[in-house]
Amino acid sequence: MTAVDVQGLRIAFGDRAVVDDVSFTVEPGECVAIVGESGAGKSLTARALLGLLPGGASATTERLLVAGTDAARLGESGWRALRGRRIALVAQDALAALDPLRRIGREVAEPMEIHGLRADGGRVLELLESVSMPDAERRVRSRPHELSGGLRQRALIASALAADPEVIVADEATTALDATVQARILDLLRGIADSGRAVVFISHDFAAVRRVADRVIVMQAGRIVEQGSVDEVMRSPRSDHARELVTASTPVPRSSALASGAPLLRAADVSKSFDRPAVVGASFVLRAGSTLGVVGESGSGKTTLARMIVGVQHPDSGALEWISPQRVQLVHQNPLGAFDPRWTIGRSLREALQAAGVSRASRAARALELLAEVGLDRALARRRPHELSGGQRQRAAIARALAADPQVLVLDEPVSALDPTVRQRVLDLLSRLQRERALTMVFVSHDLAVIAAVSDDVLVMQDGVIVEQGAVADVFADPRHPFTRELLAAGR
């Protein structure tokens, strides 16, 4: 019996269709991934399988069979019988997806209570153990904020499995996790599929898809543009969009022509603590004209290191020595927060120019030049930050940093929040700017693939310590430190 059978799904807000003519099937034991950029309609499609569309959205299907039940014209009470019992949802970010005021045990037991199954402590423990939750007896009484990201996600998965559904829908279930943790959760989801359930895996990350899915469906603007086995689609994508996505997810490592520029900055045994040590004993060299990648998971100290290079933070001990004085600018991790929300982009640019000493008369013109340089339309100068898309904001942030005519540009997670194709374009922009302005860059990211594509040298950080460093090609070909190996393995 097919676990999920959708034919001709159409979802519309009023008469505006946002998902159209979507058809696919999922067999038990299979993991089918739905891939696309934001706005492609994949989340809505997933929600339609649960009858959980947002208010104002209406769905029509030619056929909708969920775990053998005809759900095409189900009313709300009919859906309630299916949800949790035959088909379950695992959402992104368990910190928000689990009730923060309730204990894990209660959350895991809830689906069983709702559907009249026996929900005793033994069953709850069984479920937690089945998702490899360490120290399960103690964790039953914990609350979500007391667990780490990975453990929380496991608890969320356990609660989805509680009433023994045939179908699991995982919507960006691993996106908010660190790379190594993500790998383990993906393996868990793979295991769930292997044990006979059907898993629908929504993601924008092809690398994750490769790890967990058998087949993949590529969506764009509400329609399916390609489907097939993961290997097929990734090796020889037939549609343009799929090709774009696949290319964006496997960035080409950079050919480093400038392997050795003159040293600009020497760091010797630099340390910084807040309540906890953030950076411990960091030593490295930054070479002119090159890009230094700093990679690590959250809490590794990479942002603190970047801020020390900019000069916003000062080391508690050790020396950060610039060989000759340099103009250093920072592109923040969160461009929305880095612009004054009440000011237009143009005004923020002019402020930066004023601070850089540009005369009042030429500021307006220079601001428009900067916008053009980063590929933004002049009209955006009159908009406010929240009116721009993520990609546009990132470019605006880069433009503003360029206003001060820097020689060194430090970028903190500049592309993490962007869709793969947008990401690619921003990375291309950065590499063009580097060539045209002879910039030295420091690029901080948690994403190994991105680092590999843009950096010449790399620093691998874990818990504040640089565990490995060197030329990107060397470190990636022959990682020495176990953490580096783990990171590389997680990415494959």
């Binding site: 649960l50 309630r80 992104q92 005021l101 559907h115 609350r143 009433a163």
Partner: protein, 320 residues
């Protein structure tokens, strides 16, 4: 275990500091008011010779050096001695104690009515027309002076319809209109916060998870969102109690009921400073008790709170 101990110690220290602060403030306030305390108490009309005034000063102990007065005042407080009202010739504790009962009755009933109203409004009038009506009613009630609401209710239900007695405090029926009057603004505020809290909770991702498990809307509210709403409402408790006390003064005046309102008003108008100081200390004590209770209850409802932020001010936005 030791964390709980440290927290309790912290709470105790705060309690002592606040009470001490209030006592000192009350003490200082009456030393800095313009004019001499005795003349103020006697009133501008009193034609009394300086010797008599000095005699009164000595009787009240006001001729001793300030530091001694302060210390003996504090000492008295520790024994539960709030001083003596010169005008009424009674210990302040007796003056206040006699009238405490009716006010507590009124306030307790009002709080109960308010909670019931607020819960009903927050749970049953969440959408559509009912919600619009309730929101408008809350705005009107919170914008109206509580004594005007009382007068309106009196005019309609007592004078015109004759359902309830016009004044007095003999029968339980006399308690109804005053309690409802006092309850309305409190209900409006609690209802607002509760409803906003429930709505905010249901906009969060976990609400979707709960629905995805097959839960009915009732289950979502009762087992999940209500607790979130209650957590935000709890931060308002001290403010609400203050609202009830202040409102009680006004409502008792409107309905001509005995109680702390009468005592306070008389003390203010007659410039009976010891009694006023006593009322201030009572307010401080109530405030402290309420805050300790909230401190103890809050982590039970919202376990995310660490041992931080004692006497947290309620969110400003929630006021109106």
């Amino acid at each position: 275990m030791s964390r709980a101990l440290i927290r309790s110690a912290g709470i105790l220290v705060s309690v002592v500091i606040v009470l001490w602060g209030a006592a000192t403030l009350a003490f200082l306030a009456f030393r800095i008011i313009p004019g001499d305390a005795v003349s103020v108490m006697l009133g501008p009309q009193a034609q009394v010779s300086e010797e008599v005034k000095d005699g009164i000063r000595a009787e009240l102990g006001l001729d001793r050096p300030p530091l001694v007065q302060y210390l003996s005042y504090l000492g008295g407080l520790l024994h539960g001695d709030l001083g003596r009202s010169y005008q009424l010739r009674m210990p302040v504790t007796e003056v206040i104690g006699r009238q405490l009962g009716p006010t507590v009755q009124l306030t307790a009933l009002a709080l109960l009515i308010a909670l019931v109203l607020a819960l009903a409004a927050a749970l049953f009038a969440r959408r559509g027309f009912a919600r619009g009506v309730v929101v408008a009613a809350e705005l009107i009630v919170l914008s109206s002076p509580v004594f005007w609401i009382g007068l309106l209710l009196l005019a309609v239900f007592a004078f015109t319809l004759g359902w309830f007695p016009v004044a007095g405090s003999r029968t339980p029926a006399t308690l109804v209109l005053p309690a409802v009057t006092l309850a309305l603004p409190v209900a409006a505020l609690i209802g607002q916060v509760l409803r906003d809290g429930i709505d905010a909770a249901e906009r969060q991702p976990f609400a979707e998870t709960v629905r995805a498990r097959g839960a009915t809307p009732a289950r979502l509210v009762l087992r999940h969102s209500l607790r979130h709403g209650a957590a935000s409402a709890l931060t308002l408790t001290a403010y609400l109690v203050g609202s009830l006390l202040g409102g009680a003064v006004l409502v008792e005046t409107v309905f001509a009921r005995p109680g702390l309102g009468r005592v306070t008003l008389a003390a203010i108008v007659n410039r009976d400073l010891p009694v006023v100081a006593g009322i201030i200390m009572l307010s401080a004590l109530v405030f402290v008790i309420v805050n300790v209770l909230v401190e103890l209850l809050h982590p039970l409802i919202d376990p995310r709170l660490g041992a931080s932020g004692r006497f947290e001010a309620p969110a400003i936005g929630e006021r109106r």
